[in-house]
Symmetry: C2
Amino acid sequence: MNLSQIELLRILQETNFSLSLAAEKMHIVQSAVSRQLQLFEAEIGSPLFERHGKKLIAMTPLGLRILDEVNVINQAKNNIQTLAADYLDSSHGVLHIATTHTQAKYFLPKPILRFREKYPGVRIYMDEASPEQLINKLHTGKADIAICTEKVADDAYLAVKPCYEWHHTAIVPKNHPLAEDDVTLERLASFPILTYSFGFTGRSNIEKAFEKSNSELDIILSAADTDVIKTYVRLGLGVGIIAGMAVDKTLDSDLVARDLSHLIPSSKTKIAYLKNNYLPLYGQHFIEELIFAAQKMQF
Amino acid sequence: MNLSQIELLRILQETNFSLSLAAEKMHIVQSAVSRQLQLFEAEIGSPLFERHGKKLIAMTPLGLRILDEVNVINQAKNNIQTLAADYLDSSHGVLHIATTHTQAKYFLPKPILRFREKYPGVRIYMDEASPEQLINKLHTGKADIAICTEKVADDAYLAVKPCYEWHHTAIVPKNHPLAEDDVTLERLASFPILTYSFGFTGRSNIEKAFEKSNSELDIILSAADTDVIKTYVRLGLGVGIIAGMAVDKTLDSDLVARDLSHLIPSSKTKIAYLKNNYLPLYGQHFIEELIFAAQKMQF
DNA sequence: TAAGGTTACGGCGATCGTAACGATC
DNA sequence: GATCGTTACGATCGCCGTAACCTTA
């Protein structure tokens, strides 16, 4: 057993068990990969992959169980490398942030600016995805830190820190009835609604609010992206329900924002990362920036 | 970085940072070890060991942090090997049990007999040690399963299963006053006491019982070993306080046993093993035997 | 000066690459 | 028949062992 064989197993799971793709990723020829896999299976004494003829199509139960350990080893190996690099120079490096559109556009700009000032040598990769995908990116090592509102609870491998609490806001064009009227659940439900997709940015709390009432929402447009919602609200398609921090007083001056904090439960945006993943110092400082920025906010 | 370098680091911590001892353990020459360490430190880019001249005397903070990850890797590597062996043949193998003398002599015989019948191919190593050492043996991989009463709480890396509950018993020679009289804390305290050493077999509960009362125990002999205590009780040195299950009705018929369950809080014997350590099937069955045996007992 | 660690060098074995072959959709 | 995997073989590179050298108690 050696580390390249461990790495091979890890890559095979990523490449849908393709030896040729794995070879490419490892920068060696395919025949070498084939032999290494054979050697490893020989050492284990049992096949780790189900095969159709010569093609690998799945992992055996033993293979899956061993894959768990392989991932542990891989994580630890990466930690060693990160630790070493961090110790040599904690001012340079790479930070993969995975988050939803709303956070990326309306919450992250300030903390990222401050962070850039302190760490001009750190390259930031920002990855937008659905909350479900965010967690997956953490687990597969494609992201170091995830920032989102939904789905990050009850995962034993995740460390989750509360970041900030916010409320939803309804937005309508200036001439819309809701621009002036009292806002109630029933009144809201009488209009076509535009809001976030399932599983995004506090959508679950919107569901909860209307579950309890007798009204039913007529959601005519769901989007992951606040700006898409705003666009169609401007076109008069209906009432937008968006996150409070996504309302920009100057850019959205053509719209009227009505606070919904009395109707829809507050949402909590969290910061999540893998417990077993060593975050370089600048990563830890980035989280501090997030929390600092959160404290300065109010919705 | 490769697995032998990882292994080297692990062994260096075991050998007090001696390259020559490490070389011996790894069955290679010392110069090879020296070079591998240099290569690894070069790859890390920083020294992992503090040196006095050429001699290694301690680890640097970075080295210690990396050692954590090394141990994780080592554990996972062992798990892979155990998984593979277990899958090939779950009827043969080795089981390292670490426990105290009392458990080894008075609780384990029955479950071990039953286990041997089911798994004649499993070699059992029984290791006697203090509770503190038991935990250490688990952490260093020298034991798979520990059975004891003290010290196994609040360790995040340990899985702890309750095994059985028992009470202390006082033993005296037949002609001793306590053979007949009512047993109270005060009465007990009026005699010289022989019992377990600090940190052994429910000793902490004895302390607790007497802390609350005004009496103070005059412990004239402490031993880890119940049989030593019995021996000196037979010689008339005083009153023995031992675990209830350590009283053998036939072998100890020359002694009088007085139950202390109304005076000393009950003790709980637990089974502990490392959460991250894969126990082969027979190991899991061994634990089942322990729990089965425990249910058949009563003290 | 003995014991532990480093440096230099030669030899062996592990693993890679090339290439030809085999199988599967 | 194109893609993917296996087998065979030669070449290379990494790692070990021998041995001489360095350093400190």
